[in-house]
Amino acid sequence: MDRNSSQPSRRDVLRGALAAGASLALGGSLSACGSRSDAPWTASDDQWRQFQGATLNFISENTAPTAAIAANTRPFTDLTGINVNIVTLELTALVQRVALDLASGRAQYQVIYADPYQVLAPYQRGLVDLRSLQADPNLPDLPGGVEDFIPAQMDAAGRFVDREAVYALPYDAPTMIWQYRRDLFEKYHDRMADDLGFDPVPGGERTWEEYLQIAQWFGKNATSDVRYGTGHQARQHDSLMNDFSNVLWSYGGDYFDNGKEVGRLGKRDPGPCRLDSDAAIAGAAFYNRLLGVADPASKTWDWDGVGAAFRAGRLAMCPNWHEFAASNEQVMPGKVGYAALPKGPAGTANMYGGTGVGISANTLPHERGAAWLFLVWATSPETQLANLKSKAGGGTPTRTSVYELPEVRAAERRPSPMPNMLTAAAVRQAWRAENIGLRPKIPMWNECNTAIFTQLSRMLSGAATPEEAMRSIKSRVDQIVARGWVA
């Protein structure tokens, strides 16, 4: 009885399973077709319209310029007939998705926000050499060519090892500078100058040692205005490495031999780590001392945290990315000043955190062309200018020509319709080849970086002396580099 009676039941069960399976498979195959076929192409006199009807996916960190572009992709769609989906993610999540996408052999994301250290260096072979597209007569040229991009940024964000090849176009350029409460520095200027014995006005002449004294002075004498003199982004996070590196370099230390070269063009095998040098240890010791007088909450902040605390009026000054100027200006208009970071025995160093946009090597020919159109548009002078004015924040330009526009020049002074330009004088100084701080561009940087900020965090928590911290970073980094990188 059972054998027979269970027949319909089995059929029912199977039917249910089949229905479920079929719906999944159908959804699957449809999307599979979608991602395998190339973008449409129509013969057109207008180079910009040849890929109309295509759809591009752009994966980006949630940065200011992307926010500005995401807020207004219409001009691009109007110009080209191409739709753009923008996926913004936090950097770790972005790297994860990009790496998996590159590994899968098919490009879900044609346009990639290629962080030089976390995407470009480890996955350079997954990115298109853009020279091939620039040379293609059927595609529009870069306005002003590659030369219009600020040279140090072009190398740092767009190249890897090879001096000629271009894997990404500089897209944003956050750089760490000294941000300070201009109003308070004016208010206390004379008293501070008397007490400290030097002119405290931030600028090229100040040293880190003086920075520390100013911070202490504020902590002691200005508590009615601010709670602490300085704050830092010293959470166990990428930000801690950034904040520390400024001090490290200005004290003459570096991560590897030939640091400038490893920073600018990058290297696959950087050799032994040099953090055990006397200069590096001296830098670490100073940094430890500096954090001792800084807001204790520094150890919980990344750049967001320190930025928010600064805007909340808790700090008199901090080193932070210059693109925070727009939000500073919104909250405390006219009260914030900007300068290049203080000097150490070896000069000033200002960490550069810019990124380029590149094209996935998994793209099919027409997709690649469409992606190139987007790259040209997104980094064009017009778009960069529009970003500067954007209400959604907006980054700062990466092109020399944009900084020379009269309109932009005029915005360097208050009242400014482009608040990020208030930092122009400071970043111009910071971007000089001798002042720009470039972290090592090596494929295994992510893991080295983690070892670096973890051990720094141990130092700051008192679990290790500066010397111990530097030596333990060295031994870890050497191990990581020795393991090499395969991608």
């Binding site: 039941s9 195959s29 077709c33 949630n62 956050p174």
Partner: protein, 316 residues
């Protein structure tokens, strides 16, 4: 009526088998009137106060963060990060408006979340009910091993299994599709649903099917028309729990979703931007993510226990 108020009989009543149902040796009788529901009730006044204070503390501890999130979501940009927490402030719906009008309109995210979590929970319940019934009734050797294997698949560390799954899904074209997310969620929902449903089925006395079979039903008919309706509460509970797990997922969504399938928790993480966290919008999103699941969870609260304790409560 809830399980906790008149517990011994309620689970029995759900099975619809009447008071004659026996569990093991224990015959369960309704409490005679006058007998205190809780044996501790007559103890001293002092400890009564202790209880009240403890509960009050627990309530404060539990609710303050949630209320604070709700409050903050109605604060303006300045109030939300004010150095002294603001309790009195001019409420604004700005944050919610921004969420639905900006370039990253939240609408599609909600839709993806509803679709992915809903379909995944539905599939999990259907397959889980079938397999759970089989598991509860089978007398095969190694049944326990099978049961343990099922639940152990749910223990697999997410970060480790995601890579192979990603490659399989990519091969099948399932990345950035709702079916892909549904399948990804099934990796943790399916074993859970099977276990849960088998606990609910185990509570139904086999004598019921036997009488149905005697009455001429096929096994499928007995299952479908007699047993399944008895476990309606189990089905609902399982559905809701699976829904909650899928809805709340971030780790899978971050890998398997894409521009056409981003879910709500992804939207929340997108507000943590390089140039500052917009806490007003973030608390607003938090509220949007959390409130529906709380309502759904509370709706099935009285049946949650049976499922979660896998039947052991009733001492079978």
């Amino acid at each position: 009526m809830s399980t906790s108020m008149t517990p011994p009989s309620s689970t029995r009543q759900r099975t619809g088998a009447g008071p004659a149902v026996q569990t093991g040796e224990r015959v369960i009788t309704p409490a005679p009137p006058g007998v205190p529901q809780s044996p501790l009730e007559e103890s001293s006044r002092r400890s009564r106060w202790g209880v009240v204070i403890l509960l009050a503390l627990a309530l404060v501890w539990t609710l303050v963060p949630l209320l604070w999130m709700l409050l903050s979501s109605f604060k303006s940009r300045a109030d939300v990060t004010a150095a002294t927490p603001q309790i009195l402030f001019t409420p604004t719906v700005e944050n919610y408006v921004n969420l639905f009008t900006g370039p990253n309109n939240l609408g599609p995210y909600i839709w993806h979340s509803v679709l992915a979590a809903g379909i995944s929970a539905l599939l999990a319940v259907c397959l889980g009910a079938l397999a759970g019934y089989g598991l509860a009734r089978t007398q095969m050797r190694g049944k326990r091993h099978l049961a343990f294997w099922i639940i152990s698949t749910r223990m697999a560390p997410i970060a480790a299994v995601v890579v192979p799954l990603f490659l399989i899904f990519r091969g099948l074209g399932l990345i950035d599709t709702i079916p892909g997310l549904v399948l990804a969620y099934l990796t943790f929902n399916l074993p859970f649903a099977i276990w849960l449903m088998s606990a609910f089925f185990a509570e139904v006395p086999p004598s019921l099917e036997e009488s149905a079979l005697v009455a001429g039903c096929t096994r499928w008919q007995a299952f479908y028309t007699v047993i399944l309706p008895l476990t309606k509460s189990g089905l609902v509970t399982t559905f809701v729990l699976c829904l909650v797990f899928a809805w709340n997922d971030y780790a899978f969504a971050v890998v398997f979703s894409g521009p056409n399938s981003q879910t709500l928790p992804i939207a929340a993480s997108q507000l943590v931007t390089q140039t500052g966290i917009d806490w007003g919008q973030l608390t607003a999103i938090g509220t949007i993510v959390v409130v529906p699941m709380m309502l759904a969870g509370l709706a099935v609260r009285r049946w949650l226990v049976t499922g979660l304790t896998l039947g052991a409560v009733t001492g079978e």
